[in-house]
């Protein structure tokens, strides 16, 4: 009898001790971040930026954070499927780059927090209710496309003397570029440029449009990777295109104006860390991308027989020689 009570007492003590121990040391969690974008590989610059930003905030890959990366190569249906997959996998947070991926994530889950980057106009594209109070489960970095699209037109006009026609080619599902249309039209009219708007929904329409671009036309490349449209503009269009980030200029585009992709990733890390540690997305205002680059590729300019005017060279913070 005595022995059994002793055993019971010991067991009770052990249980209490266990509970105490569990409380005293918080369980070390590895946060799972689902990553969703339309790139062709895992090393999208916003993702590299996010990893760098989180590292600086003490959240190290492997030890504190694990990334489950889904890139869908600009294939329209694949993004929605990948979003569903991440939601089902029960990740702690979903990190997206560009608007199709963000909207796909928003459709797939209304509870898992989502932090976005490269969304050009989060309110117009209904990603959030307002920038100050996003509502819902999303917040992130706005790449300010609606504001910047007319500026891109202006930069292109500065580069190409006597520019008369500019093409604006984008995928039909691309609401960021659609949202920017009104301000682009207004700017085109102000600069006395003929704006040719081509919304394309299949590869056939895309190539027809691209083949019509003349050598002395300009092209406003869309900010979204759907259908690989920007890459195809770079490859096929005979006239100079303006692109949304310096990464393009580093790889052959003649000029770009827009926020740095990697920097948006770094900027978003603060939001991600706050949310992982308990904050709610609806309470974190959307931030505007804080670093805008004007980049120019002098080699490509030479090949296109374009003289880069001094006022562009002076403003450019990235110059590819």
């Amino acid at each position: 009898m005595i022995a059994r009570s002793a055993v019971l007492a010991l067991l009770l003590l052990a249980a209490v001790a266990d509970a105490a121990a569990a409380e005293a040391q918080p369980e070390h969690r590895v946060y799972r971040i689902g990553v969703l974008n339309e790139a062709w590989a895992a090393n999208h610059p916003t993702v590299e930026g996010l990893k760098e930003g989180l590292r600086e905030l003490g959240l190290v890959e492997g030890r504190d954070v694990a990334y489950e990366i889904r890139y869908t190569k600009g294939v329209p249906g694949a993004t929605a499927a990948a979003a569903e997959e991440l939601a089902k996998a029960g990740v702690d947070l979903i990190f997206t780059s560009n608007e199709p991926a963000t909207l796909a994530a928003k459709s797939a889950t209304q509870s898992i927090p989502i932090v976005f980057t490269l969304v050009g106009d989060p309110v117009a594209t209904r990603v959030v209710d307002s920038l100050a109070r996003p509502g819902g489960n999303l917040t992130g970095i706005s790449s300010r496309a609606t504001e910047l699209a007319p500026k891109r037109l202006e930069v292109l006009k500065s580069l190409v003397t006597g520019l008369k026609r500019v093409w604006f080619i984008y995928h039909g599902s691309d609401s960021t570029d659609t949202a920017a249309l009104a301000s682009v039209r207004e700017a085109a009219s102000r600069f006395q440029i003929e704006l040719i708007v081509r919304e394309v929904n299949d590869l056939g329409a895309l190539f027809i449009a691209l083949k019509e671009v003349r050598r002395d036309d300009g092209v406003l490349a869309p900010v979204v990777d759907t259908f690989d449209i920007p890459a195809k503009i770079l490859d096929v269009a005979r006239g100079p295109g303006i692109f949304p980030s310096a990464l393009w200029v580093e790889n052959g585009a003649v000029i770009s104006y827009g926020p740095d992709f990697r920097a948006q990733g770094v900027q978003s890390a603060r939001l991600v860390a706050k949310i992982l540690r308990g904050a709610r997305p609806q309470d974190l205002p959307v931030e505007g991308a804080d670093r805008i680059d004007l980049a120019v590729n002098l080699n490509t300019a030479r090949q296109l027989a374009l003289r880069v005017p001094p006022r562009i060279l002076v403003r450019a913070n990235v110059v590819q020689r």
């Binding site: 790139a39 062709w40 590989a41 895992a42 999208h44 770079l234 490859d235 580093e250 790889n251």
Partner: protein, 409 residues
């Protein structure tokens, strides 16, 4: 009157005949491009790849109408991987066979030796596979570089090592021009990145047994083993690292590791090995930052790869093939721009030339030293080459550290 007419007709007929004969003969004489090629000897594997590049480029050029309205004929001889033999061959090609232009031999030692001939005869020599900087810094006027410099071959390896917090490097290398230069450059870069060089040793050309040297490497216990090699020694060293069970956390090679043949020869022992490369077929589908296709920096590369496989079925395709092809492309373009075969004019065109070939960007300084082209680092992962440096092209992460031999599947 009749006589004058008759004479006039004869003169006209004669003139026409002359033009006809001269024109035909002129149009039919091919432009002869001479080169020595290393089809036998220690450079054979890579020399043959370069040779195929030359041959394919000439074939394509002829299909597109030749050069300056004439067909191109490639005139070559085997230099047996010996620089002295290469020198004799070029001398013969220029003075006896009277070639109109030349393309360089395989490798740095070959190009350095042959440069004396091209300088003497004032004939531009593009050396597509000579990466040793010193060759282009001796005040020579007629030698032109295509590759990124030897000194920087292993920069990617050390870059990854430093980023992963590794601390020590051992350097071993064949005792000839290119591996010596690559090793010296590696030591320089190691210092710049704050890594300590714990061993730096050369071995003679043709060495087959590295046991003693590798035992000294084991004793130095480096995090990183960097080796300045060609193909045969690269294979032998890798094998002996396994037999002796020596386990650096990273092991990288200058030449040889990037060849498909390296994996074919070594099988799983090639896993985790890093290799420098100047070009890779995967560049055709790679995207910078996972977004932007880099293929446009390598115009014609897709067609080059497809036709190479069709024309030489089963043959090894490496950056040496692409560099050879590119050297011929560059010669072709500079002759075309010069509008002449005159050595001075062609030289002037080459110095000014800025061009993307199947091999990538080409741009040289006044001494012919390459400033446009960038080198890459690969690592064998699951039987495939993954580009792990530079970072923006690295769709795959490097697998660090290399697991010990005994712990591998």
């Amino acid at each position: 009157m009749m006589q004058i007419h008759r004479i006039a007709r004869l003169v006209v007929a004669d003139a026409l005949l002359l033009v006809a004969l001269g024109g035909t003969a002129h149009a039919q004489a091919p432009i002869k491009i001479g080169a020595s090629v290393s089809t036998t000897g220690s450079f054979a594997a890579l020399g043959q790849n370069q040779f195929r590049g030359y041959q394919l480029c000439v074939k394509h050029a002829n299909e597109k109408g030749g050069l300056l309205g004439r067909k191109i004929e490639l005139v070559t001889e085997d230099d047996k991987s010996d620089p002295a033999t290469a020198v004799q061959i070029y001398e013969r090609l220029i003075t006896e066979k009277r070639v109109d232009a030349i393309l360089g031999p395989y490798g740095s030692s070959g190009a350095d030796a042959v440069a004396a001939v091209s300088e003497k005869h004032r004939m531009p020599m593009i050396a597509p596979l000579a990466s040793t900087s010193a060759i282009y810094k001796k005040g020579r006027k007629y030698v032109f570089m295509v590759l990124s410099p030897a000194e920087a071959y292993l920069e990617g390896l050390l870059d990854v090592a430093a980023k992963r917090g590794l601390k020590t490097v051992a350097v071993i290398h064949e005792d000839t021009l290119f591996p010596n230069t690559a090793a010296a450059g590696t030591v320089e870069i190691a210092k710049r990145k704050g890594l300590t060089v714990v061993l730096n040793e050369a071995y003679p050309k043709g060495a087959a047994d590295f046991a003693a040297l590798l035992t000294r490497v084991r004793a130095a216990n480096p995090d990183v083993l960097a080796a300045g090699t060609y193909f045969e020694d690269a294979v032998a060293i890798t094998r002996q690292l396994k037999t002796l069970d020596i386990n650096p956390r990273m092991f990288g090679l200058t030449v040889g590791a990037d060849l498909p043949k390296f994996y074919e020869t070594l099988g799983k022992s090639a896993e985790y090995v890093y290799g420098a490369t100047q070009w890779d077929p995967s560049l055709l589908t790679l995207r910078a930052g996972g977004l932007i296709p880099v293929a446009r920096q390598y115009p014609g590369a897709r067609e080059f790869v497809e036709d190479y496989q069709k024309t030489f079925p089963g043959a090894d395709l490496s950056y040496h093939s692409a560099a050879g092809y590119s050297g011929c492309e560059l010669l072709h373009e500079s002759i075309r721009r010069a509008g002449s075969l005159d050595g001075e004019r062609v030289r002037a065109a080459l110095v000014k030339l800025e061009m993307n070939t199947v091999f990538g960007p080409f741009r040289v300084d006044a001494g012919g030293f390459q400033v446009g082209h960038k080198a890459l680092m690969i690592q064998w992962q699951d039987g495939k080459k993954a580009i792990v440096s530079p970072e923006e092209l690295a769709a795959d992460k490097p697998r660090v550290p290399t697991p010990e031999w005994s712990k591998r599947p």
